[in-house]
């Protein structure tokens, strides 16, 4: 944050309260979720503490474990950002799921069709094509929203369904591999020039991080995207307008902001970010588009966005947390006689309790702050404003 132009009064800064409140909310929610989870785990005759220890051990004991966590987090960061950008404009992009599925398709088309390009051109082209596919898939519900008022929640869900069928058809017909005797439906294997290298190979860390860990340069790209989205939302005019319509569309319109065009822009940006979600799976792992691509990342993005309070930094942290839980699930599967679904339930409880806890803290803080501000309004008369620079 840039320097405040007005000296704050000596009372506790709102930032301290805000951060303290959030920490309190997070801690409480984690504790609650851990307790409920413990009950379920207990019911299976397994020690909850042991389970939680295993989650920790599996996600942090070695460099490669942490790399796995970050690899898990990569698509979730993009997906969370996509949801957050739309949400800041007061829109719900439930269609990140469909957007990244279509983006995988368009990225594959580029990877297969432009394979004559050198790597330095091909890779960006593939990634951009993915973003374009996602943006295009978001454009349709965006246009419907702006032109006809069709609710974006419903239309994006429908677009998800259409995306699934579209990719299924593409794999059956136009993009189907010409190789003989294939069991799985898939495209041809991409040229290695189109693949995103892993960080381990680029930095010569192959010994610590095995090749099965798909932590690619898309992870730094995800972090960079967080920074860019932050800048976009909180520093640029476009972001200002996006947040203005999200926070009060009436005031924004009175302020001369065109709600429709802004909503469309927000949706397209969201879709472009959504287009990046599937790329780690496609370009960092498989190297082809198969019928068994990873699904559910778009919906996970909604939970990531809300765990992260729709703030880019929070989203990155939330994605890493969910990445840890996913890694922990693998650990539990091999260690205990416990259905690994337990962790999915745990995750759900955690998210609900975090969201609820935030809401309670938000309400409490708002009440406190309101009281404080009111008190100050009474206390500060004109001399309070003299702190301000002329």
């Amino acid at each position: 944050m840039s320097a405040r132009t007005i000296t704050p009064t000596p009372t506790r800064s709102p930032w301290v309260e805000l951060i303290g409140g959030q920490a309190l909310a997070l801690g409480g929610a984690f504790l609650f979720a851990a307790l409920v989870g413990a009950l379920i785990i207990r019911a299976y005759g397994v020690s909850p503490l042991e389970v939680y220890r295993i989650i920790w051990v599996y996600s942090s004991s070695e460099l490669s474990d942490f790399a796995r966590v970050l690899a898990n987090a990569t698509p979730l960061i993009f997906s969370g950002l996509a949801v957050a950008v739309a949400f800041k404009a007061g829109l719900f992009n439930i269609g990140v799921e469909g957007q990244y599925i279509v983006a995988m398709l368009t990225a594959s088309m580029a990877a297969l069709g432009l394979d004559f390009l050198p790597s330095a051109l091909l890779l960006p082209a593939v990634v951009l094509n993915g973003m374009l596919g996602g943006a295009l898939w978001a454009l349709i519900p965006g246009l419907l929203k702006v032109r006809t008022g069709a609710h974006e929640v419903v239309t994006t869900i429908m677009m998800n369904g259409i995306a699934l069928s579209l990719v299924a058809w593409a794999l059956l017909d136009p993009l189907k591999s010409s190789e003989q005797g294939l069991v799985d439906l898939r495209t041809d294997i991409f040229t290695t020039k189109a693949l995103v290298p892993t960080i381990a190979t680029s930095l010569g860390l192959e010994e610590q991080i095995p090749g099965s860990v798909h932590l690619t340069w898309l992870f730094p790209l995800a972090l960079l995207s967080c920074a860019l989205v932050w800048f976009l939302l909180f520093r640029t005019r476009l972001g200002y307008e996006i947040r203005a319509i999200g926070s009060s569309s009436g005031s924004a319109e009175a302020g001369g902001i065109s709600i429709r065009s802004l909503q469309l822009k927000a949706f397209v940006i969201s879709g472009a970010l959504g287009g990046l979600v599937g790329l780690n799976n496609l370009l960092g792992d498989r190297g082809y588009l198969g019928h068994n691509y990873e699904i559910g990342l778009g919906f996970a993005g909604i939970t990531v966005a809300f765990l992260g309070r729709n703030h880019p930094l929070g989203i990155a942290l939330a994605a890493i947390l969910l990445g840890m839980l996913a890694r922990g699930q693998e650990g539990i599967a091999v260690t205990f006689e416990l259905p690994s679904e337990t962790l999915i339930i745990l995750e759900g409880i955690l998210i609900l309790s975090v969201v609820i806890a935030y809401e309670m803290v938000r309400r409490g803080l708002a009440r406190r702050r309101q009281r404080a501000v009111r008190a100050e309004e009474r206390a500060i008369s004109t001399e309070g404003a003299e702190d301000a620079p002329a």
Binding site: T236, R237, A254, A366, A385, D387, A388
Partner: protein, 159 residues
């Protein structure tokens, strides 16, 4: 949105508030906000507090400050005192009268008859989307009441 973000709404697209790369010139905007809250006595700790935490009166002052900043020819005030306490109502009224005194046209839309009598030079009544009467503020309230509800006594209007 914070107070400073609110204070620039409507003129955020001007060159003077634009930084590089499509960014906003936040320092300038904060200076603007600081000036507005000083001039209009908006009581807030600083310009970075959430505008929604201000009391209704201070929110309204902020809006007035924001809208008057540009020296408008016409000011449309729609229910400017709804939900405000007595002190804040007094402030808004004074401001509106000052604006009138400064030669601006002020269109006040209000459901408060007292407010209308207090501030207006001319009173127009609307019924089903049509202007049903134009009155001088010394007209009796029941005449206005009748015109507001569609009754025909428009001939009493002061032309």
């Amino acid at each position: 949105m914070t107070l400073w973000e609110n204070s620039v709404l409507g003129r955020h697209d001007r060159k003077e508030y634009a930084g590089g790369l499509g960014a906003l010139a936040i320092k300038k905007i904060k200076a603007l906000a600081a000036r507005l809250i000083r001039d209009f006595d908006v009581r807030a700790r600083n310009v970075s507090v959430d505008a929604s935490t201000l009391s209704g009166g201070n929110q309204q002052k902020l809006i007035l400050a924001r809208e008057l900043e540009d020296d408008p020819v016409l000011l449309i005030a729609h229910q400017p005192t709804r939900g405000l306490d007595v002190g804040a109502i007094e402030f808004v009224w004074t401001q509106l009268l000052e604006q009138k005194g400064a030669g601006r046209a002020v269109l006040l839309i209000s459901a408060e008859l007292d407010e209308i009598y207090e501030l207006s030079d001319r009173i127009l009544t609307l019924y089903e989307g049509k202007i049903t009467g134009e009155f001088h503020p010394d007209v009796a309230p029941d005449v206005i009441g009748l015109a507001m509800t569609g009754g025909r006594r428009g001939d009493e209007a002061v032309r």
